[in-house]
């Protein structure tokens, strides 16, 4: 942890549940009970209906690559030390999209990943209290 030079999230009131569940190896998202739509990022008032009637639901942790980029230059030294690495937007099967990293691909090049590929969540444990949900390609 002391050697961790990248940026860490600071959980807030509305997101504490999300980060707590992530530290337990589970990906939870929220659902609007007015329209049944799932959404991300965590917030107490839904973005679809501006409704307070929301609930937490566990995600399948599965989805597809919606967009990706391979970072070669980062202004943050911690990230630069790991370049090249893949940033992505993943579309979960439940519908919401979230930013993440695609991990498990050695020396990433655009030939090794495509938009639409299936991915599954994996948790990068940073400390006892904090894990970052990341994704890896589903091996068929």
């Amino acid at each position: 942890m002391n050697n961790y030079k990248k940026i860490l999230p600071i959980p807030q009131g509305e997101s504490e549940f999300y980060w707590n569940k992530a530290s337990e190896g589970e990906l939870w998202i929220q659902k609007c009970n007015q329209c049944s739509e799932s959404y991300f990022y965590p917030r107490d008032i839904s973005p679809c209906c501006f409704s307070r009637d929301t609930e937490w639901v566990i995600s399948s942790g599965r989805g597809v690559v919606y967009a990706f980029s391979i970072i070669h230059r980062s202004p943050n030294q911690g990230f630069q030390d790991e370049a090249p690495f893949i940033i992505a937007i993943v579309e979960l099967y439940e519908g919401p999209r979230m930013a993440t990293n695609i991990v498990g691909i050695e020396d990433p090049t655009p030939e090794k990943i495509r938009i639409g590929m299936e991915v599954v969540v994996t948790f990068d444990k940073i400390t006892e209290e904090l894990s970052l949900p990341k994704f890896q390609l589903v091996k068929n």
């Binding site: 860490l8 959980p11 807030q12 967009a67 990706f68 980029s69 943050n76 940033i87």
Partner: protein
């Protein structure tokens, strides 16, 4: 009395590019001085002050202005286009009559950057993955465009834009990057964030810019030809890139349509398009959003150096953020070039009697847009 609004003065800071030792505030002040001089208006007449990314109180204090209208709307680099709309509204409502809009950013030499609020969604849900700057966010969007419309033709289009923009910069003495660029140079430049090469990305400079905008009453007696605001619109539809509704359809689609409607002009009336080029991709997708071509047709629209000097679609004639200057919030400089082209003041790169110019600013992570249409009538 006409309720028309005109831009009557423009200016950059004294030196732009790499200017060690000058603060962002000094760039604001020099640009303000130069724009007021260009307009032939005394600082005492200024009663409205607008800026972005910097406190309007600090700028006003330096300049000695006690405004009756102050606005620090900051939605990224598009803000200075949106300020045209705000100034127009404020002048028409009687809050002020002579408005100064300033920008200054020592983007290259001052390495201090505002630290993001750690509680914001971007800090929690994007930054921990390394999505911490514009190349990261915009490259995600570009990858989606390539997936939908084809990688090779998108790549060709990005090369066309990089090269054509550099050709314009070679005609602008104030441009930071004036060396010749070939498509091979583009393709061989290093990766920053695939799909972006270095030459897909705007440069980083120190620069300030300002313009003066006022009512027809004031404008008619000034030394230079007024450049009239025919339409000015604004919007934003997300903040962080993972929340963007459609990565290939920025909100310029809405601001553009409204600006054309307000101005009462059509696409074929536009003699000059100043399109915020934070990245080559930004231009490609913005041309489509503004309706100059259909979604996915941008690559054909910019093909064969159509947007270069001598081409039949004049775009980013200053050399743009890609090659002329990009201090961080570049939108201001779109306005300066459009006004100067309409006035016929741009020397070697001057277009033949342009009458109507469209300006489109993009801010944040393709998040905000401001569109303005300016004309001589």
């Amino acid at each position: 009395m006409s309720n028309k609004i005109a831009i009557v003065g423009v200016g950059e800071s004294d030196e732009i590019g790499k200017v060690p030792g000058k603060s962002s505030l000094q760039h604001h002040a020099e640009a303000a001085y130069n724009a007021l001089e260009d307009a032939g208006i005394s600082i005492d007449q200024v009663d409205g002050l607008l800026t972005a990314g910097y406190s309007s109180m600090v700028v006003a204090e330096y300049l000695g202005i006690t405004p009756t209208f102050t606005d620090g709307t900051n939605v990224g680099g598009s803000s200075f286009i949106i300020h045209i709309a705000h100034a127009m509204a404020a002048i028409r409502a009687g809050y002020c009559n002579v408005v100064l809009v300033t920008h200054g950013q020592a983007g290259r030499s001052a390495r201090t950057r505002a630290v993001a609020d750690a509680a914001e969604p971007g800090s929690q849900f994007e930054a921990p993955y390394g999505i911490i700057n514009a190349p990261a966010a915009y490259s995600l969007a570009a990858s989606r465009y390539m997936h939908i419309y084809g990688e090779d033709r998108t790549r060709d289009a990005m090369a066309e834009i990089a090269v054509s923009t550099r050709k314009w910069a070679q005609l602008n003495p104030k441009a930071y990057m004036r060396d010749p660029m070939t498509k091979d140079d583009y393709h061989n430049s290093r990766w920053v964030a695939w799909p972006f090469h270095l030459l897909d990305c705007c440069i980083v400079t120190d620069a300030g810019g300002a313009y003066v905008i006022t009512s027809a009453d004031v404008a008619k007696d000034l030394k230079k030809q007024p450049v009239w605001v025919l339409g000015a619109t604004e919007s934003h539809d997300h903040a962080i890139i993972s929340q963007m509704p459609d990565l290939t359809s920025p909100i310029s689609k809405d601001t553009g349509a409204r600006a054309f409607g307000m101005a009462g002009v059509v696409h074929s009336d536009i003699d000059l398009a100043m399109i915020y080029d934070s990245f080559t991709y930004t231009v490609l997708v913005t041309l489509e959003a503004l309706g100059f071509c259909k979604p996915g047709e941008g690559p054909e629209f910019v093909a064969n150096q159509r947007t270069a000097p001598g081409g039949d679609f004049a775009m980013n004639t200053s050399g743009g953020g890609l090659s002329y200057t990009h201090s961080g919030m570049y939108g201001m400089f779109l306005v300066l070039e459009a006004v100067r082209q309409l006035r016929g003041e741009t020397g070697e790169r001057q277009l033949a009697s342009p009458e109507i110019a469209l300006i489109n600013g993009t801010g944040g992570y393709l998040s905000s847009a401001g569109t303005a249409i300016l004309g001589l009538e």
